[in-house]
Symmetry: C2
Subunit: 186 residues, 2 copies
């Protein structure tokens, strides 16, 4: 971020009066431009006892497997965003269920919010952001080829809860510490 979105003049970084963090501030109009984490909305979809996963057709992690998930848009709820991603990535019309997990990815400035879901209508397909979509039995899940730590976490907790017959909400923080990714369950 180098120029003011309001007036087009150069930005500087400084701590505004009454604040305690460096912000982008316009050198001309003085507007402060705050930056905040973004939400990734997703869902773990179960049908006939299997989970619907997508092989990513886009970077990052092209060719790796994920449940449907993506950036939440203005004007929708987190659950609506999760359902939209299921349609876009797997051509699946889903019914969103209970909240499964909230994963804070601190270094990426992201919060990954994932719901349980089922197919509202039979059938699914391959959206433009996917190379392939497939129903996986628990024993077949390609754990070595899962796209993101937050996806692994959501799938693991989903399956554990299913075995126990419960639907809990799980929390995790992911952050870089001393040059490596550290995960902490909350």
């Amino acid at each position: 971020m180098s120029f003011c979105p309001n007036c087009g003049q150069p930005l500087t970084r400084k701590i505004p009066p009454g604040d305690h963090l460096l912000r982008y501030v316009c050198t001309a109009c003085g507007t402060i431009h705050y930056q905040n984490p973004r939400i990734i909305a997703g869902c773990v979809i179960e049908t006939e006892g299997k989970l619907l996963l997508c092989k990513r057709a886009i970077e990052p992690r092209l060719g790796y497997w994920t449940h449907p998930a993506g950036f939440m848009e203005n004007g929708e709820s987190v659950a609506q965003g999760a359902a939209r991603e299921a349609m876009e990535e797997a051509l699946a019309k889903v019914k969103i269920g209970s909240l499964l997990s909230i994963v804070n990815v601190l270094h990426a400035h992201q919060v990954h919010i994932t719901y349980r879901a089922t197919l509202a209508e039979p059938g699914y397909g391959v959206g433009v952001e996917s190379l392939e979509t497939r129903l996986y039995d628990e024993a077949e899940i390609p754990w070595q080829d899962i796209a993101f730590l937050s996806v692994r976490f959501a799938l693991q907790r989903y399956l554990e809860d299913r075995r126990l017959g419960v639907e809990r909400m799980h929390g995790q923080d992911i952050d870089w510490q001393h040059g490596k990714l550290v995960t902490t369950e909350r």
Copy 2:
């Protein structure tokens, strides 16, 4: 948003190839600038059976009461943001507990995520964004002077759960429909 934060040239609004929504796109460098909802992190703090509320010293809703809450910052988790707000608004060092509520405020492009909390150390005060802070018994809560619908929802559900001896997660969507605010519990 009128100018490109990357190069300072004018923006236009159009639907990029492969997309389905209007985006801000730079007329010079072509960068697409996505806009996404922001997270309001907050906590309902209980101590000695009472709830710690803050009278707002800033707009919007100056003079109305709220639990501590504010925009989540990059580099923190939602829970860390909620604890930071408790310190900033009520000079309260809190221990964050279970997830209380997720409220989607669709017209404002916000997601309000609120945790249960207790005081980690005795004592509280009046932060710079508050006019006054006070412990309220359930019967004393100033329901007519609560700042936001999402705060009312979190406080109501908190108290209901406390009566029942449970800690559930509650969801609500708030949106303008036909000229008035409509709330839907999820």
